[in-house]
């Protein structure tokens, strides 16, 4: 049975989305992404380095025809900045998707949800496909959907913290009440964190540091590929209920 992820009319084979930051070099980036099986990759929007004229461009390693490039507005702390970066990203002519980040605080990198909603509203009106990086507040998630975001990306834990899902109860409420694809983004530490997110019913997981920061990023990328697949299959298979007491697996009948 085909279990493809569909967002804003686009189909994706992989439910693992991967960031391209923090790798040693572009070669390692490409190897890790290939090992992960991801077909959506996030990129940051920055000034071209005029003085360092090495010819290498990230997109020479990640062909936009083969991967879906998802530009982010990382580093933006205001609505104005986020809008500027999103519009510049689209003007580069590669994508009209945007992972919208409006950051509220330098230490936690938590989203400024008020600014996020304001920026999302404007960008949706301008025809962007807005995928907002939000917190685990189901009310904010619902507001983002109401204003036209085709998916929502709640954080598991602070970016790069490796803490895994800090608030599974809120995430479950979001999964139950918010009727668009949910992509858990940020805070994943290791494979089991990703599997758990998928078991809860998340539609995809986005991670960067968990792979790029691992001792062996290529191996971790592969682990994450299986983790996402296992979690998704387990979710679709329907787990057994949790019980306080035992129910034997072997029959009593025929005992001596």
């Amino acid at each position: 049975m085909d279990d493809r992820l569909v967002i804003a009319g686009r189909e994706f084979k992989s439910r693992l989305w991967v960031g391209t930051g923090k790798y040693k070099d572009f070669i390692e980036t490409k190897k890790a992404i290939d090992a992960s099986g991801a077909d959506v990759v996030t990129v940051a929007v920055r000034r071209v380095n005029i003085t360092d004229r090495s010819k290498d461009n990230l997109l020479d390693y990640l062909d936009p025809k083969k991967y879906t490039i998802l530009p982010n507005t990382a580093g933006c702390y205001s609505v104005e900045d986020a809008l500027r970066y999103a519009r510049l990203a689209r003007a580069a002519g590669v994508s009209d998707l945007v992972k919208l980040e409006v950051i509220g605080d330098e230490r936690t990198l938590f989203p400024d949800t008020a600014g996020l909603i304001e920026a999302a509203k404007i960008l949706v009106k301008e025809g962007f496909i807005v995928l907002p990086y939000t917190n685990d507040d189901p009310i904010v998630a619902k507001k983002l959907v109401d204003i036209g975001c085709p998916a929502v990306m709640p954080l598991a834990a602070p970016i790069g913290s490796g803490l895994g899902i800090r608030n599974p109860y809120n995430l479950k409420i979001i999964l139950e009440t918010v009727k668009v694809p949910i992509i858990v983004d940020a805070g994943v530490g290791t494979a089991s964190d990703a599997t758990l997110a998928m078991e809860y019913g998340a539609d995809a997981v986005l991670m960067n540091t968990a792979i790029a920061g691992a001792k062996d990023p290529i191996m971790m990328a592969e682990a994450m590929k299986y983790a996402i697949e296992a979690g998704r299959l387990a979710y679709r298979a329907g787990r057994i209920p949790r019980k306080l007491y035992a129910t034997a697996s072997s029959p009593i009948e025929g005992m001596l």
């Binding site: 990129v43 940051a44 461009n57 580069a92």
Partner: protein, 94 residues
Amino acid sequence: MPLTGNEETVRCGHLIGEELANAGPGSSIHIQVNGERQTAPSGSTVAGLLAQLDIRSDRVAVELNLQILDRQNFDRQGLQEGDMVEIISFIGGG
């Protein structure tokens, strides 16, 4: 002088060299590119600036004096003294 590269490359190099040789005071403009001072030949276009900086025009966005340019106009958009240009592309990020 030995020929390097193909003939077309050599011809282009010769043309730019000629232009620079003819440049005197007043035939170059001072602009800001990505926050740094740059000079460009007077009458440059955005496309010309990108070529001057050896930047491929596909996959970059250009903002001129806080206005994002339509990439189809790179070769038509002229640059003037004091212009502020931002040339933006994608790098690794989460």
